[in-house]
């Protein structure tokens, strides 16, 4: 038993050191096992289909209805969005800034999930022969899916962004709510002056409906009511410093199966304001980042305030449906941090 344990520990050590022996063992085993897996998949497909038919039928019909509605809603928006993206890319190209359009990519099909309860990864049918290398970002039509962690000749393993080992610098594009300031004005004459300011001032005359009472013995308030000066308040809308969305960076971290990723280290800067649920999250980019900038990751679903200088903790709704991946795109962009010495 001790000998076997030692063998296993040596294997773990070798693999963690990036030994080529363990890599070639995996690769050779993949070559032998792949045909067996394909045959088993074909044989067990009826059973799998029956299982999905039993367990997911209602979900699929509901999802179909929802998707039809969404398609109808988005058909118009997609045209406008495509035009905006094109304009944005042209603008970035004019200014010599990097864009996603300038990065080559490889399409791949997902051929399997990780057969474990404790690993969040998928396998794709393209590998080093297609130019894929470790560290390259993987996306689908919706947004970021993960990164390449292992590459073989014609397959590769993608670590999903829900894996606890995954971390990525991201930008939160916050749109602060318009600030409303109420100015109490005592003199009605002044109120007229304020009203003259177009569009930004919305004067309202507020008469409090507090019941009038008296503490004077023998006096009943009724017909004689003390004159009250109406309180005039104006709602003054102050626009933010500029109309450009405010951005702040943080670090996105996966938290395992069934748990949404979080973003930490968000600086609670004054101009950035309070993070709103629904704010989009995109990759930050930069020389040390794992992905190029502006790949959509998700939206803020919940903001957890924390004490001190820790800043808020943001829970993220990922836009890519990681439970139902079929085709993905691998950007041929290898981060500096993942490059190995020649």
């Amino acid at each position: 038993m001790a000998l076997l344990a030692l063998t296993a520990i040596i294997l773990v050590t070798l693999d963690l050191q990036g030994s080529s022996a363990t890599r070639s063992l995996r690769s050779t085993f993949g070559v032998i096992f792949r045909p067996i897996e394909s045959v088993t998949r074909v044989v067990t497909r009826p059973a799998t289909n029956a299982w999905f038919g039993i367990t997911h039928y209602n979900d699929v019909t509901d999802e179909n209805e929802l998707l039809r509605e969404k398609i109808a809603q988005q058909e118009g928006a997609a045209v406008a969005a495509a035009a905006s993206v094109r304009l944005s890319q042209e603008l970035l190209a004019l200014n010599g800034l990097p864009t996603l359009a300038g990065i080559n990519s490889v399409s791949a099909q997902v051929i399997g999930d990780s057969p474990s309860n404790f690993v969040q990864s998928v396998e794709i049918d393209q590998g080093s022969e297609s130019g894929i290398k470790v560290g390259m970002p993987v996306l689908n039509a919706a947004g970021l899916v993960g990164k390449i962690t292992q590459v073989f000749s014609n397959r590769a393993v993608v670590m999903l962004i829900t894996d606890p080992q995954y971390a990525l610098s991201v930008k939160i594009i916050n749109t602060p709510k318009p600030t409303t300031t109420t100015l109490p004005i005592q003199d009605p004459a002044t109120a007229v002056t304020v009203v003259s300011v177009p569009e930004t001032i919305d004067p309202q005359v507020t008469v409090p409906s507090v019941p009038v009472t008296s503490n004077i013995a023998g006096f009943t308030p009724g017909s004689l009511v003390a004159p009250r000066t109406p309180i005039i308040s104006s709602s003054l809308t102050i626009p933010p410093g500029s109309n450009v969305s405010v951005r702040e960076t943080g670090v996105l971290e996966g938290r395992g199966a069934g748990r949404v990723p979080t973003v930490r280290f968000v600086d609670a800067a004054q101009r950035f304001g309070v993070v709103q649920a629904g704010s989009p999250i995109v990759t930050a980019g930069g020389s040390l980042s794992l992905a190029p900038p502006d790949i959509v990751v998700g939206t803020v679903s919940r903001v957890k305030e924390r004490l001190g200088t820790a800043g808020p903790l943001l829970e993220i709704d990922i836009v890519a449906d990681l439970s139902n991946l079929s085709f993905v795109r691998i950007l041929l962009y290898q981060p500096i941090t993942e490059r190995t010495a020649p």
């Binding site: 063998t7 296993a8 773990v12 963690l16 096992f33 990780s114 057969p115 395992g256």
Partner: protein
């Protein structure tokens, strides 16, 4: 030479590798898709434990190591981690005769369920020990519970397959 090849082909370990390849195929396809309560049933682990309960700690540990290495090759965790966990779990499963003098099929079934569940729990712990932390979450309770139940109910079939796979043949 031909006798040696025949001996090798008829060996229980050769049969174990071949049967494990088929089980691994089922693990990566059928059981990977069919996940009741979002839990993938660890057929390979339960098979290793079944080997331990039937043929004792030593055979169990060797079987666990072989099955584990094969399982490791399709996982993205470090190679050797599953083999370590499977070997240790099957070794523990093989200690049944020390506790029960004459194990019956149902004591073996209970052992497969309980030890299999412990092995499944040991996997994220082993992952944490080599730096792949974060997998030990509340969902593990569901995983362990379901593995225990399925292990117990699936044990008769596993024992049948395991008995055939690891039996000593006259040539081997």
């Amino acid at each position: 030479m031909s006798e040696r090849i025949l001996r090798f082909m008829a060996s229980r370990w050769t049969r174990l590798v071949l049967v494990s390849l088929i089980l691994l195929g089922l693990q990566t396809t059928l059981l990977n898709d069919m996940r009741p309560f979002a839990v993938m049933l660890p057929l390979m682990l339960l098979f290793a434990v079944a080997a331990g309960t039937l043929y004792g700690s030593e055979v169990g540990a060797i079987s666990g190591l072989i099955i584990g290495v094969m399982y490791d090759c399709v996982l993205s965790t470090p190679l050797g981690l599953a083999s370590l966990v499977f070997g240790a779990t099957a070794f523990v499963g093989g200690m049944l005769p020390y506790l029960i003098r004459e194990p019956t099929w149902w004591t073996r079934a209970i052992t497969i369920g309980v030890v299999g569940a412990l092995g499944e729990l040991a996997f994220p712990i082993a992952q944490s020990m080599v730096g792949f932390s974060g997998q030990l979450q509340p969902h593990v309770i569901v995983v362990v519970g379901l593995v225990a139940v399925v292990g117990m109910f699936g044990a008769p079939l596993l024992l049948l397959v395991c008995r055939w796979t690891l039996k000593e043949s006259l040539i081997g």
